[in-house]
Amino acid sequence: MAIENQSRISIDTQAFLPSHGFKWLYVSGLNSLWIGVIFFSMVMGIFILMETMLARNQFPTELKWVVASMGAVFLTIWLALTRGAVKDLQDIANYGGQFSRN
């Protein structure tokens, strides 16, 4: 993917984009925070479902929160950093005209 504006200024952003099954998270357009919240809800949902339907014993509540939130936090931060860097390159490309001397 290359960012372009009317001045034909282009910056390649391929270096930043996720791959191997994670690209769809990036191109989904969903906010990084929402992706984290959805992931957290999914893992917590699986834990609660398994405890309710399959388990013979309960696991400590706070630890379920910790495991579910760890994945969500790391995923959110990775995507947020990626999106932010691409946006920065977009800004630089858009500022192109302002940098011109004449």
Partner: protein
């Protein structure tokens, strides 16, 4: 100044499919190692071990180890995210350093350069979030303080080192701004001492005939006042985060006193 000055070739920073696959495998390996370490230390008293420990004994009839599989999957995802974030940060430094070397410096309009301060701040605030969470996950029953010192302090040091590394493009912009200021200032000084031809190389060369002595003095002051750190757009954010902890302490004291 050409119109295509920002057609920057960042293809070198683009990872090959092979390196992407290697990163994925290393991430999976790291995640599995984290998960495995949790189980290996299940005899210990940490909260994580207390969580993973029962998983070993957990068997659900026709679905043995299903809980363990879910937890391992989460940790493998965490491992992938850690490796991807690290390699992303490395590539970000590469790409932005290249852009910082190429981008033209306009002393009269340095605000757009504030974009180079965004990455260090973003990485800093993101990693601070992780640094806060990790010691909690490893907290032992003997108290959080016993966990924070051996795990939290090295992580704070890591965040600091990463912050410095990600700031490399910003420091490059700062040094280029400083150099541009010195060069422009020297040209104006020469013009003020009688050598007006020096203005041919300055950024006001097109309007040099309109610049009389007072205008040059004003322009020199303007150049001197340019801040070498392009942080204008981020001052409020930085100030907010700097003020927040003392403000929280003050509010806490106020609440305690009031109650």
């Amino acid at each position: 100044m050409g119109a295509n000055f920002l057609e920057i070739n960042t293809a070198r920073g683009r990872p090959s499919p092979f390196s992407r696959r290697v990163e994925l495998l290393v991430g999976i390996g790291l995640g599995y190692t984290i998960s495995f370490s949790g189980r290996a230390f299940s005899e210990e008293t940490s909260l994580m071990a207390a969580f993973i420990g029962p998983i070993l004994d957990f068997s659900v009839g026709f679905l043995p180890g299903v809980y363990s599989t879910v937890v391992s999957a989460v940790f493998i995802l965490v491992g992938i995210c850690i490796i991807r974030t690290m390699t992303f940060i490395y590539r970000q430094i590469q790409v932005f350093y290249k852009v910082a070397n190429t981008i033209p410096i306009d002393l009269l309009n340095p605000e757009p350069l504030a974009v180079f301060a965004s990455q260090p701040l973003r990485v800093f605030f993101g990693l601070v979030g992780i640094t806060v969470i990790i010691p909690f996950t490893l907290a032992s029953s003997e108290g959080l303080a016993n966990t924070v010192i051996p795990t939290g302090l090295p992580m704070i040091a890591l965040v600091f080192v990463l912050f410095l590394l990600v700031s490399i493009p910003l420091t490059r912009i700062r040094s280029r701004l400083k150099q541009a200021k010195i060069e422009e200032s020297q040209l104006i000084t020469q013009a003020l001492t009688g050598n007006r031809r020096a203005l041919n190389d300055s950024r006001i060369s097109a309007h040099q005939d309109e610049f009389k002595m007072p205008d040059l003095l004003y322009y020199q002051d303007r150049i001197h006042s340019v801040w070498e750190w392009p942080l204008h757009a981020h001052i409020r954010k930085i100030a907010f985060y700097l003020v927040l902890p003392p403000l929280a302490w003050v509010l806490e004291t106020f609440v305690e006193t009031a109650l």
